[in-house]
Amino acid sequence: MSPELAAPRRRRSLSVHIVGQNAGLLLVFAMLAAAVALYCLFYWMQQRSFPGNFELTSTVDNTMPLAMAAIGQTIVVLTRGLDLSVGGIIDLTNALAAVHMQDSLGSMLGWTVLVLLAGAALGFLNGLLVGVGRLQPIVVTLATLSIFQGLAIRVLPQPGGAIPPGYTALLVNMNQPWALLYLVLCAGLWLAFRRSAIGVAIIAVGNDEAAARANGINVVRSRVIAYTLSGVFAAAAGLFLAATATAGDATSGNGFTLSSIVAVVLGGVNLFGGRGSAIGAMAGGFVTTMIVNILFFSRIDPLYQSFYEGLFLIIAVVVGGGIGRMLRRRR
């Protein structure tokens, strides 16, 4: 850890320094490029044509919930925490939206705000327990995961409810990849957040809690805000999930706890805190979707899907970690 903290005496090559600092981000985009190229290759071998607008749109629409969840997870992981309740928050917010949203502009806007607030409240609870209660994030969010999942089934016992078509068109237009705009918006928000006081505080807490406290950062407040933001983004994921499915399912969010961690890891965010970018995590989410697409087109038995995903995760972490370390050492 310490070599990174020591200021470079001789600024022999700034470019190597920048590459070393952003190794995770560069790697995930390299992975994404490789995955897209491989996907195009397999697609061409099967269809004798290249994927077009339809494939792009469906890939983006299918990845939106994961990309949102990954942003939230990133913010928590930056504080050296982990939010396992992401899946539960997605379940609950997804169910709330599907049960209550009506086909009118007022209802759609109102419930969007309410659902995001609900996500904030759930995340705030996690934040209080971790920050003020000084409990371990893994067990706290494992417990709240169970609670949120229970509440979600209480809200929507059977898959059902309905999302107005207008809302689906607004969030995930099925014809054009308009959802990319939300990603650009989130990337912009992230860049601003990273430079804001609270963003810096969150990263500082993850890097070295004692040093952050000594420098006057309110550690508890930073933690609470990080978990609250994670709740908000998980709620956004729930909304996107409901919009793509056009209905609700109180268990459809369960898988996102693990896949958001996978996206964050692929995105080069350090699980030990203080290092990483939400943009990388979003790209990591796209890599996981692309892997599923590639497996589909390469005619691999879908039963083996988890096997390849697990294998890829290990390879990505080992290779990514190795390259990152090498680059930083060479500085």
């Binding site: 327990l129 209660g133 000084r134 893994i138 067990v139 417990a143 039963l303 083996y304 096997f307 697990g310």
Partner: protein, 326 residues
């Protein structure tokens, strides 16, 4: 520090014992509560049934205790367990004469997969959460793929009668499974409390760097602990097949949450270094008792899920308060 260390050690021992007692007292209280809401709940038969169900959680929790004691976690439990269950029936085909080989093969598979987890943690510096998560996916894919989604001919086999007997046979009025669990409790407690390996485990959990400098083979111990966790998941898978007769897909899913919950309820410190297996075993018993009481009260699934979470949070807050006294 040196001055107060012996007093501190005594206090810590006292606290660990106290937590074990809390977990046991919680189980006892739940039986009393169950008897009130559902007369006959605290009968010997029902106690036996609850403990038998708890034993499967308890066995997985043994493995989880090992890795949590060094500050790790094993998320690969569900599909090691499920894969073990399916491997047992497909390799034994329900025949007694094949059973010893099948059991040995299955246990070796569990230990081997666990060892891979350990190698990843110890040598590749991959966080435990990531490697065991990935390993869970790998085992899921392999289990589903190789068994054709549990459609293979051998997949419908029953567990060999001898394995079923190992769970069900009544010895002195209690099922053999409970004796087996008792044996595991004694052995694991002995290993953790009385052997060099156990002391190394606690040392690594308390301070990895100091343990390394003190000459403890941190990597070897880490690999062994993850291998043990895989071994116990596989053992639970074998016994669950013996209990239910046949393997099914998803049978391992509940055991991840429950094993971690049992470890937490039992007072094992999630960052490592403190806690005992007796505590985790008591945690498994009280968790299962809680589920049984809720079932007896006709609590719907969602209510159980909520109460599960709340109980763990309350215990965490109680224990956390003690932690800050340190």
């Amino acid at each position: 520090m040196a001055r107060g260390s012996s007093a501190l050690a005594r206090l810590r021992l006292g606290r660990d014992r106290r937590r074990t007692l809390y977990a046991l007292a919680a189980a006892a209280m739940l039986f009393v509560l169950g008897e009130i809401v559902h007369p006959g709940f605290a009968s010997l038969d029902s106690l036996e049934a609850v403990l038998t169900v708890a034993s499967f959680v308890g066995l997985v929790a043994a493995g989880q205790t090992f890795v949590v004691l060094i500050g790790g976690i094993d998320l690969s439990v569900p599909w090691i367990l499920n894969g073990a269950a399916i491997l047992l029936v497909t390799s034994s085909l329900g025949q007694n004469e094949r059973a010893p080989y099948a059991v040995a093969l299955t246990l070796a598979m569990g230990a081997g997969v666990g060892m891979l987890n350990g190698l990843g943690v110890a040598f590749l510096d991959v966080p435990a959460v990531v490697i065991t998560l990935a390993m869970n996916g790998i085992m899921e894919g392999l289990t589903l793929g190789l068994s054709g989604g549990l459609t293979c001919q051998a997949c419908a086999s029953y567990a060999p009668p001898i394995v079923q007997q190992a769970v069900h046979r009544q010895i002195l009025g209690a099922p053999a499974e409970l004796y087996l669990w008792l044996a595991v409790i004694i052995i694991v407690s002995f290993v953790l409390g009385r052997t060099r390996f156990g002391r190394h485990t606690y040392a690594i959990g308390n301070n990895l760097r100091a343990s390394y400098l003190a000459g403890i083979s941190v990597r070897f111990t880490t690999v062994m602990l993850y291998a043990l966790s895989g071994l116990f998941s596989a053992l639970a898978g074998i016994l669950l097949v013996g209990f239910g007769g046949q393997a099914s897909l998803g049978m391992g899913a509940p055991y991840l949450f429950q094993s971690i919950a049992a470890v937490v309820i039992g007072g094992v410190y999630i960052l490592g270094g403190r806690g005992s297996y007796i505590g985790a075993a008591a945690g498994a018993a009280s968790l299962t008792a809680l589920v049984s009481v809720l079932l007896a009260m006709n609590m719907p699934d969602y209510g159980r899920s909520i109460i599960y979470g709340v109980v763990i949070l309350v215990l965490l807050l109680l224990y956390g308060r003690e932690e800050s006294e340190r």
